[in-house]
Symmetry: C3
Subunit: 451 residues, 3 copies
């Protein structure tokens, strides 16, 4: 009898623990919070597409603004459709340590969760949504670099290849559980997997397309072709900064337990500090080097900091995050003239920000994360580089010799808005016309009969 | 004794279930999550007011930009006040299968929840907030359509009538538990109840106001009056796309159980896919029809897709969502010249997007949702059309013959910014003046003494 | 034996209650929700930095737009770094009823929560993030007021002092548990602690800097120097309105219990109603006084309403919130000419909005909150005023006589973009040049060789 009582009392004492351990309702809450985190953070990452659009619309000349707007919003649409048709499964289905997943349309299967088994962790569609917006972000990196001379449909065709195949296949290596994941490659939110991928694809595009007419003069002279709307570029940077909280914060991939919520907080704070560090470092650099602060360098410095922290935002202290971002800000100030010296014409500085700092950020992970190694990180960087350079080059060249990727010289002078879009971005405003810059003088289709 | 042990052991085994069933704390979590979902999603829908403002500011001519900004932000303020004074209760209080609710100021009553009874599901104010921003969205549809010639105060008076009476009364039929709800009419997030209502109100306004001077020439010629700021219109579209995740996703009206979280995820993904489908379809259509992609058609295509999916975003597969949105994108490309042929002057394409696709989206629900019928959907569409056309016409006409709704011909030439607002949107910039388009030449009040 | 059974049965009955009371898992959920609320609401407040940037970029003349963009984004970076290095601890560490906290870098300590003790309530970094963005907001108030003549690096040096010392020290009095908190001073989300602090710092700056050249003519004439981009200012206002839901809503400082979620809902709704009231009141006022609605007054009216409700958004009814905001809207219309009469040149109306309405909002708290007193509120307002006026004046004067705070007269004519930034905001566009307003004519470094 005493034994019985003991057993029962023990049961009573143990019971709360059992309740907690089995704990179906809390588990449902965890499932909901993980799902909701994917959705909210995914919306913030989607918003980055608007940030890229505004940044690039502000940094191209007025005669190419409508075109770059169209490219940025349509590439996001393409990313959504391609990631549904082929991308997601290529990146995440049955990768099993290999080099790519399987082909097939994606669809959610939440029957287990609807039956009360929450072990899946989150709803299928919330995960798809979060991964899809990352795919769009990789593609957004490209548009700014190759702006002002790439053909609309040629560019969009490249977006199909990038978002449907190149991005998901390399993404499967690290995030899909492929061979790089098995090696121990660590890229928290995608300094390599997202930003450098966009960067390599942009680099090959910029080289194959060639520079804009008039960008590089005789004797190594680099002609500034200043952006047409600085507040719009500033807005774009703010949007990207804001969206990056979701980009990195959502990459915890969970919210339903306290440890994940704590990690998400640390990630967001470090993300912010890296942006601060990158911006302030770039501002000081340009002030010292050029005696004036170039506002686009400050903006690109902030973005450089953000890219730099993206591979490992969970482990640094705030001070380390400032420094990691700060190095990114210094790099971007040095990289912009470097690419100009190579006559690689990057309209918005995308290579300096996303490629250079994407590499730096990936290599910086082991500084604060002892579970990673420089060597493995280097393998990831190089393998990604090789794959994206080769596949992108094939894609750009195939498009070049089929539908074409570069507008005619005359159209480039007139501006892509006239030749590709048939509308002006700012038709009511008189443009400065030194050197035919506005290109609008010869374009009248919509500038009559207003009023 | 064995029986006792058995009972007690059974109790121990059953107990976790009992805990789960009574489960007050989880229920509090459900209440919190439902509430928080209303707030976060409501903020996204509020943000759509900014999206409409930017879209319309980009699509009107520069001489009317300040006015359209003012209209868009002030109509949102009016919606807030009217929905508090009369709208919410007219839409939701004591409808009981009838044709409208009751009159009276709204106030929250959360005493039950504060006392631990969470059966209400969510806080009163969170629900009010979410419904209020929808009311604002319906009103935002109107401003763009009747822009560039409607008087400021005449328009705002119409907003009072629309947000305080027309919108809430018809809204009570479907969403307030009125006669349409009893019939089985299904309009998840408001293709009919929000978008077509704005569309019908805009249509009556556009007809009663008449077209802008110079829009329709002799022999059926339609003069393009291009928008003045395409990147701003693009930003507006991105904002609307972003806000639509909240518009449709929040319309699950719950988040605190796994089924709702799953539904919200599916809704958001389908919302995104429909926007992709609408945009890409519209781009291909205009490329084929006009040999160039009109960027405003791409933007309107995305919005068309979003409106089209809004009546039923929970049931389609992703592929079906692309198609539903894609049909919307095709419709908008056909509808814009159709309204021009009728000489109904819709400045931003609001009728093509919100009215045409609102109807299409509502009728498309039974394709993927077997619990609905085409016939009932049609009744909803027609009843809403009849009610809004009649009441809006009365309102517009009553305002026409009292405070006036159309600016003078001279003021229209000068631009509403000069006549109604007394300030220019872009005073520092020289405007193109072919055909007196800028209208600013005769307006000097604020353009002196700068510097 | 019966006794035993009774005890055990009692145990079984009592057990659920015990489980609920100890309730570790629910407590974890509360911890997560509190944390997530800080993060999401903090992101919205960060977004207000973009709102200030757009508002100010729209309200300054085109020749100063790039500079104001740079100031706004870099001050947010400075706020992040300073709040980490010194601000947070100065505001919140060991204040204990005193006049300031302690010095030292901030770092999170979440070891208790990671070990399962959730009594801390939320993660350290989430709290830091939420408080940091408030610090940034206070600083954003200053930039618009002193725009168009303050030196970039002089201004940024002031930002260091404001965000690192002035803001945190006074913030410790009320929010850090200092002497004002002990007195019973109530400032929910910072009408005084954030907005009036920014306002006082801006006022001293505006006085010490002096007015812009040409603003005040002979015989008391006030020359309008209209903003260059009204839709951008409108966008900024929408962003601020949106962000304010987080500013006030997040200031509940919790979400993990139903009472907090209810309070958050009420706060957000009242925040919205005050904005509505302020905007509509300002519109009616200017229509009556000047026969036309000045759109910038409508925008500032909305912001005035938002500032006014910020000190006490939890206690008013919706109607009271409309009135509190409405008084703010009236005040702003009266205050703008008042400051002009005093020849205090406030470029964007920041003093009228943030200082005047910050005071009004703080003093209005006792109207709806019986736990507060006018006298204590007045002490808080006056003590904050005294402290910020004195410290800001010392800071501005020290900077004036060291690195300098005002650009040369010639540079002011040319515009800060030319002298401080070395780039134009809108280089492609021809500017109106009456009275040398554009200032760009003499600036050619980047306006050649485009195209």
């Amino acid at each position: 009898m005493k034994k019985l009582i003991a057993v029962l009392l023990a049961g009573l004492l143990v019971l709360p623990t059992l309740v907690l351990a089995e704990d179906a309702p809390v588990s449902e809450m965890t499932y909901i919070l993980n799902t909701f985190s994917f959705l909210v953070m995914g919306i913030l990452v989607m918003w980055m597409a608007a940030g890229f659009a505004m940044l690039e619309a502000g940094l191209v000349r007025s005669k190419n603004v409508a075109t770059i707007c169209l490219k940025n919003i349509s590439l996001f649409g393409i990313a959504g459709i391609l990631f549904y048709i082929v991308g997601y499964n290529l990146m995440y289905a049955n990768v099993d340590g290999g080099f790519m997943g399987s082909f097939g349309f994606w669809s959610a299967d939440d029957t287990a969760a609807l039956a009360g088994d929450y072990s899946g962790g989150y709803s299928g569609a919330s995960d798809w949504f979060f991964q899809m917006v990352f795919c769009g972000a990789a593609c957004s990196v490209v548009s700014g670099c190759v702006a002002e001379r790439v053909k609309l449909w040629g560019f969009l065709a490249f977006c199909v290849i990038l978002t449907g195949f190149i991005y998901p296949i390399q993404g499967s290596w690290g995030w899909g559980g492929g061979w790089l994941a098995e090696l121990g490659f660590s890229d928290y939110a995608g300094s390599t997997i997202v930003h450098s991928v966009g960067g390599w694809a942009a680099l090959t595009g910029a080289i194959i397309l060639g520079a804009r007419k008039g960008k590089y003069g005789k004797g190594g002279r680099v002609n500034p072709l200043p952006g047409s709307n600085i507040p719009m570029a500033t807005l774009g940077t703010f949007i990207l900064w804001m969206g990056w909280y979701g980009f990195n914060g959502g990459s915890v991939l969970a919210l339903g337990d306290a440890a994940s919520a704590i990690e998400m907080s640390n990630v967001m704070v470090n993300t912010n500090m890296a942006a601060c560090g990158g911006m302030i470092a770039a501002m000081i650099m340009v002030q010292v080097m050029y005696k004036k602060v170039d506002v686009t360098m400050a903006l690109n410095g902030a973005l450089a900091g953000l890219v730099s922290i993206t591979a490992g935002p969970a482990t640094p202290s705030l001070g380390a995050a400032v420094l990691i971002g700060g190095v990114g800000g210094v790099l971007v100030v040095l990289a912009v003239p470097f690419f100009d010296k190579l006559k690689i014409d990057d309209v918005v500085g995308a290579l300096s920000v996303h490629l250079v700092c994407g590499i730096w950020g990936t290599m910086a992970v082991p500084i604060t994360n002892p579970e990673t190694s420089f060597f493995t990180q280097l393998i990831g960087v190089l393998a990604t580089a090789a794959f994206v350079i080769i596949t992108s080059s094939i894609a750009w060249l195939a498009l070049k010799y089929t539908i074409g990727i570069r507008v005619s010289e005359e159209d480039e002078m007139l501006g892509c808005d006239s030749s590709e879009i048939g509308m002006e971005a700012y038709p009511d405003f008189q443009r400065v016309s030194i050197g035919g810059s506005s290109g609008i003088s010869g374009y009248t289709s919509s500038s009559v009969q207003r009023g």
